[in-house]
Amino acid sequence: MQRFLLSIVAVLAVACAPADRSDAEADAGGNPYGLRGRVLAEALPMPDVVFTDTDGRAYDLRRETDGYLTLLFFGYTHCPDVCPIHMANIGAVVRTLRPSVAARIKVLFVTTDPARDTPERIRTWLDNFDSSFIGLTGDTAAIATAQRALWLPPSQLGPADSTGNYLVGHAAAVVAFTPDRLARVMYPFGIRQADWAHDLPKLLEIQWSGS
């Protein structure tokens, strides 16, 4: 009986462990750094755009993110699925990182729905996930410029329903910029907390070749 119980424990231990793809497996997918995200063939520079943060101050993307690992995401606070899941998962993982690592990471949320997403609303929404997250807004031209610079499809407003609510189509990927302000890795929707926990410290450690 003891052996039976032990074998059950062993089966469950293997099966219930969070998906933990090995570095070798990641490498086999054409990823030379063993990262879980998609490494870009060509690094992209941080968009040269100035947004407004939730305190109403100007936020120069290039200047403010220099020296930080920056996760940039375009979304909106009325989003029913992708945006809150990405933010919740990143927030949950950042809290588990060593403080010295977490202090070197900035998470930027740029609204794709500036008409409804007031700075106050963005702040309140982001505080649900992590109060260190930076919320940014701007005019639609600035937002579109930033998206274009990262080869992301421009966001599109959907039709309003009877209550006036509408959805906003937007890219579901989080863009990771290394401290040299170059976008190196994309994280599509479906990336999991275990993947973030694996990649975030690595993104700070890797000596990237080429720019």
Binding site: A13, C16, Q193
Partner: protein
Amino acid sequence: MTWWCAATDLPWTWTWRAYPGVWLFVAAVVGGYAWALIRLQPARLAGDDQPTTRKEIALFVLGALTLWAATDWPVGALAAGYLLSARTLQYLLYVLVAPPLLLLGTPRWLLRRLLRGRVAFRLARVLSRPLVPLLVYNAVLIAVHLPPVVNAVAGSQLLSFGLDLLVIASGLVFWWPALGRLPELRPMGYPGRLGYLLLSVFVPTVPAAFYTYARFPIYELYELAPRVQRIAAVADQQIAGLMMKTLGGLILFGTMSVMFFRWHRQEERQEIPQKEPVA
């Protein structure tokens, strides 16, 4: 039309949704029972058969209502694609609450009628011994909690239906030897039943421990599901772990306490004639 609760990508809302397949399932269970009571009850009962009592009918109906509550909106829908804690509650209702009520609500004469065939009787006898039910119950418990199974079944109504039936069946198999309804199957005595229930407490603590102590969400389905009431995926997982440990333990230990006192009463009843002075 959605017949059975399965995972969708839709955000969760507290707006009621109809699942006609669930109603048909519950109606079939209750209807089959009512039909059996009306049509199959013999005019003269043999042996220790008793006429169906109100208590038995009430227990069976309560069991069917438990199945309904666990399968239909909102528990069924939340369990299918939103909250692991709801799935755990559903699992506990399926295996630890509904089956004993259904079995205790089925009168002995009906059980005997159902087990009239040789194969059915032999199967019931095998299932009256503890080893096979314990293996079946734990194998199903492990299988339905494996992440690949949970993720594979999620979007399919048919597979979700099949998995729900499998879990309910494992619950019936699990409780069969513990309740020992038919003496001709030579069920275990109270000490054996207590030991059997005690053994079954341990395996569920394994997934419960993973749920409670895992750093990150175990199931992709629940991690990437639209959030319900802003409950974080890890918090939901921890609630599920606590439920599995405490609720499951409470039900099993509660049942064991009742059995222990029944055993005690039985022993007392057997001792009373010996204490009387011999004339």
